[in-house]
Symmetry: C2
DNA sequence: GTCCATGCAAACCTTTTGCACTATA
DNA sequence: TATAGTGCAAAAGGTTTGCATGGAC
């Protein structure tokens, strides 16, 4: 969890970015940034909107989307797509600036882990294909402990003859 | 590139899946499967529709979506989302049944590679979090050789003070 | 005072669904 | 002949955009 001082530091960093870009620092931008920076969750736009409502802020959805776009450009926030049909946003204030995600297919929970070996994979594959890597994304899907204990099963409904044995 | 005989083998496998599920084998399903199995590309729904049009087939978009859903369930086809705003589909007839993707952010080109070390990462992280992994997704984004040679640059417009040094 | 942001609603795009009609088994 | 699929158009859901108004600098 971020502390309040971390949060305000990052809101100020966002302000610095806006100034650098010659863009106005508006109340709406500060409030949206504040919501994103004050949690370690991976927030959806709906969740951001809900939090704003709880705080008594009345900010249009379009402004939320436009502010998130700026936050992503500033590289203070990362955009994720966990295949739910909408995006999620996570600030980079975390003690693990580069991390991968573990996603429970049952409850949608997200955990973070680090995988130093990916540096090497990136470098090797880059050499092999003359490809200049700039970023990567590793997601592992499966069942979290709680869902396993609750008896959840991963549903398989493919061909009975597995493709590998064709 | 798949040979014609590979393609028809896989169309027949899809037929077997449909029979197992008690579902009718329709002309439309066979033609859509045929299109997906006869290329190694990662096809979008629009591209599938275009190919069908070229072949003189007149098949509704809804049927394409419904057939792709069945192909994915059969596990003969994989669904991908490379962040373009729509899905892509790739059959699993490839000599590399499990592979990761290299995606050029300039031209949208996709290359495939294998990363055996991911098995180990999956196992380690699974133990660490009591998580039961079922599948993973690794994507490396960057510039392919051709786009590098054409002078493409990855655009950076973040804060001038990098977040890591805060 | 200039320029840009905001808020609302409409537009957009991909994907899904309802329904009358048709094909499969 | 029963059951399920197809095609069309409409709906859905997330995201983007146009435009008149309002705020930042």
């Amino acid at each position: 969890m971020s502390t309040a001082s971390d949060t305000s530091l990052f809101v100020r960093l966002f302000g610095r970015y806006l100034r650098e870009q010659g863009l106005p620092i508006t109340q709406q931008r500060e409030v949206v940034a504040e919501v994103v920076f004050s949690t370690d969750e991976h927030l959806s736009v709906d969740e951001i909107e809900e939090t704003l409502r709880e705080r008594g802020e009345r900010i249009g959805k379009a402004t939320i989307y436009r502010t998130l776009d700026l936050l992503v450009r500033s590289q203070l926030v990362e955009e994720h797509d966990f295949g739910e049909g909408f995006k999620r946003y996570e600030h980079r204030l975390s003690p693990q600036p580069v991390h991968e995600h573990l996603i429970c297919v049952e409850c949608g929970g997200v955990w973070e882990f680090q995988s130093p070996e990916l540096q090497e994979v990136e470098a090797r594959v880059g050499r092999q294909y003359d490809f200049q890597p700039t970023r990567h994304k590793l997601e592992i899907y499966g069942l979290c402990r709680a869902c396993q204990e609750a008896g959840a099963q991963v549903s398989y409904q493919g061909l009975t003859c597995p493709i590998e044995s064709v």
